[in-house]
Symmetry: C2
């Protein structure tokens, strides 16, 4: 079964915010066998909303919308949908009470904007929103369903998980979709494509392969749709086994997980701890790791030594070496990793030092020159990277590369 | 003038990647007076591509597409467009040479996938891609323009900035769009709406106001379209002056800049330095700051003290206080800030300690309890936050709140 997603809001169309809702919703729908065939972002204009939902409901049995449900005058979605489905807006007493209670907690009394939030189209089914006052509305027309949710990501996620998904799977008969993502590193996309071309040509007819390159890695995704999930999974697993033989050294995970999640698994399995010493990555590696719940079990901390003074004082880097070789050097990055392992008292420590750009490069060490190091009970190892001119990319790739060094060590 | 954006790729529709290209492109087009009226994401299917571009070209004089131009078999956009515009694919010798040279640098020889990359539709105009081998193609039909670019963000950005924008502004006559964003904190969206309702009602007829709430803040955006940029800017500035009088204490910036950018301005202006001591934010604040080029001028580093051991050993937090009050306490967060200021030798230090969740809360200190502190030559100040159940949101709001504490201090 196919669904469409519509996101509403001028802020998306002028590029003030990135629409992250669609990707999250698509992923969630896929788990329940619902594919997304189109995502459309439109402005807060009644005409646009009507034309777009009309077209979407012709193509797809399920249309999910987010946005345009705030209390302010620029948000017109509720009124527009109510008119479109020929309904009247009436006050929902339960919702009114909920909003009033929520405001009372902050010592605020109900104002006309809040009262407006408590109106719902008569005839629409309401799915609870546990994290906000904008209601989620379910409309039906000729067995087709249109659902309107608020655009605030955590409200939308709460609605999907606490009621909407079950309402959808009760209403529709869905088939199964199986995706499998294989994470590879160290081979560029076109070389990989050549290595895999025989295998790709012999894939089962209804199985689709996609290549997704991103900084430092290529994700390979196999997708297949059918009736029986176990049968589909078996077909995919057989292909993955063949792939392993073609790429014995370059697969680092069999799920679309981030490298830091793979490292978390390995560190937990072995009961080891990690710390980081970050210069050019500026805390990004620590942030990646601590974004995941439970990271305190294996991550002890980081020294972001942006200045040389901190490299010396906190990490114990030799000041003569700093002067002689510069901060971006093998000597310094290795001492950073060793120093972090010691001061943070961890089993492993990773370190980065480089010129992220866009300025600060020299002929000898151009922007994109990065040294990475890993310290452990074996001592220390390091590697020089020659990356890009773009700061954000240099930070991301450096983080990936040094975590991948650790991943290989942990998998030994 | 209005444009539409189409992004192609199954990875978007299954939610494997978030489409960040559209927001970036929309923002860029807005600068040149081109509004975006619709963004559509579709799969790598020829039928979908043809139907969608046909509809978009009927509605808008300019359609920009990204994606589907990779060297692998799942990418079919070039072939589809070539067929749609009745053109043939022919080899571009210059592009062929460029790809060959690039591969030679890595010691790789041309394979059939790379050769395919050098084909272009005869009759399409080529805009240079300095960061990759997929060509950017410009098609014209009845004076309407469709442009196809690769989906890799830094390739697309390079193409837009190094040729495509000038090609667009030469081809079309555009009007002016002025957006102004005013960043507010400390007042919720609906209360703000009430405070501003009189002002909003008296805005010039063609001026639009939007409310954009996000963790810890509400952005207000004024937008207006017309012929003369200076006149539009003057109208907007007049409204901003009125707004300042309504909200004398809650505006922290007059551009859509992140809080760390405002802090960078202030620190540079005053010649002061900053360090961070992060527990629950886990390096996120350091990462925010170091994402911006030039941050080494005012940012010296961070101690991410995820474990109590590091709070004691590196930051000098008193072990008895840690035991008595717990890591998430006023005593500990203040000592963290003071300790960081000392060990990192900075003018200011901010610190966070909290329960980010989803687990780890108690009755006394539920998930979302966060202490933040700021140390400076005045001593130390701190604040308790009672945030949410959601880890990501707690990390972001804590970072914003503590940086905002610093912003207020710097603006004194």
């Amino acid at each position: 079964m196919q669904a469409e997603i519509i996101t509403i809001g001028d802020e998306i169309l002028i590029g003030q915010i990135v629409d992250t809702n669609s990707a999250w919703m698509a992923k969630e729908l896929n788990k329940y066998g619902i594919g997304v065939s189109k995502i459309t972002s439109i402005s807060d204009e009644a005409d646009d909303i009507v034309t777009t939902i009309e077209a979407a409901m012709k193509r797809a049995p399920l249309v999910l919308m987010t946005g345009g449900l705030g209390p302010t005058n620029d948000d017109i979605t509720k009124k527009t949908l109510s008119d479109y489905f020929g309904m009247k807006l009436i006050q929902d007493d339960e919702l009114y009470q909920k909003i009033q209670d929520r405001l009372a907690k902050y010592g605020i009394s109900m104002n006309p904007f809040n009262q407006e939030q408590a109106l719902i189209p008569d005839g629409a089914r309401i799915i609870p929103n546990n994290f906000g006052s904008a209601p989620c509305m379910w409309f039906e027309k000729n067995k087709r369903v249109l659902v309107s949710m608020p655009g605030v990501p955590f409200e939308m996620k709460g609605i999907m998980q606490n009621g909407l998904i079950s309402a959808i799977t009760e209403h529709f008969e869905t088939s199964e979709i199986v995706h499998k993502t294989i994470m590879t590193d160290g081979i560029g996309e076109s070389v990989l494509a050549e290595m895999l071309s025989d295998w790709e040509e012999n894939l089962p007819l209804n199985m689709k392969l996609a290549y997704l390159p991103s900084p430092g890695k290529v994700r390979l995704r196999l997708s297949i749709t059918g009736e029986s999930k176990p049968a589909l999974e078996k077909m995919v697993d057989e292909e993955v086994e063949k792939l392993k033989k073609i790429l014995p050294d370059n697969i680092f995970a069999y799920d679309d997980i981030a490298i830091e999640e793979r490292i978390a698994e390995l560190l937990l399995e072995k009961g080891k701890t990690l710390g980081t010493a970050e210069s050019c990555t500026g805390g990004y590696i620590a942030h990646l790791i601590t974004s995941h719940a439970g990271s305190s079990a294996y991550f002890k901390g980081s020294v972001v030594s942006y200045s040389n003074e901190i490299k010396e004082k906190v990490l114990g880097v030799n000041s003569k070496d700093l002067e002689k070789f510069g901060a971006v050097s093998q000597e310094v990055v290795e001492q950073m990793a060793l120093g972090a392992r010691k001061v943070l008292n961890t089993d492993y420590a990773v370190a980065t030092s480089g010129i992220a750009g866009p300025d600060g490069g020299t002929d000898e060490k151009p922007v994109g020159t990065v040294w990475i190091a890993l310290a452990g009970d074996f001592g220390v190892q390091s590697e020089k990277l020659e990356l890009y001119k773009v700061r954000e990319r240099n930070i991301k790739v450096s983080a990936f590369k040094v975590l991948n060094l650790l991943r290989k060590e942990l998998e030994k």
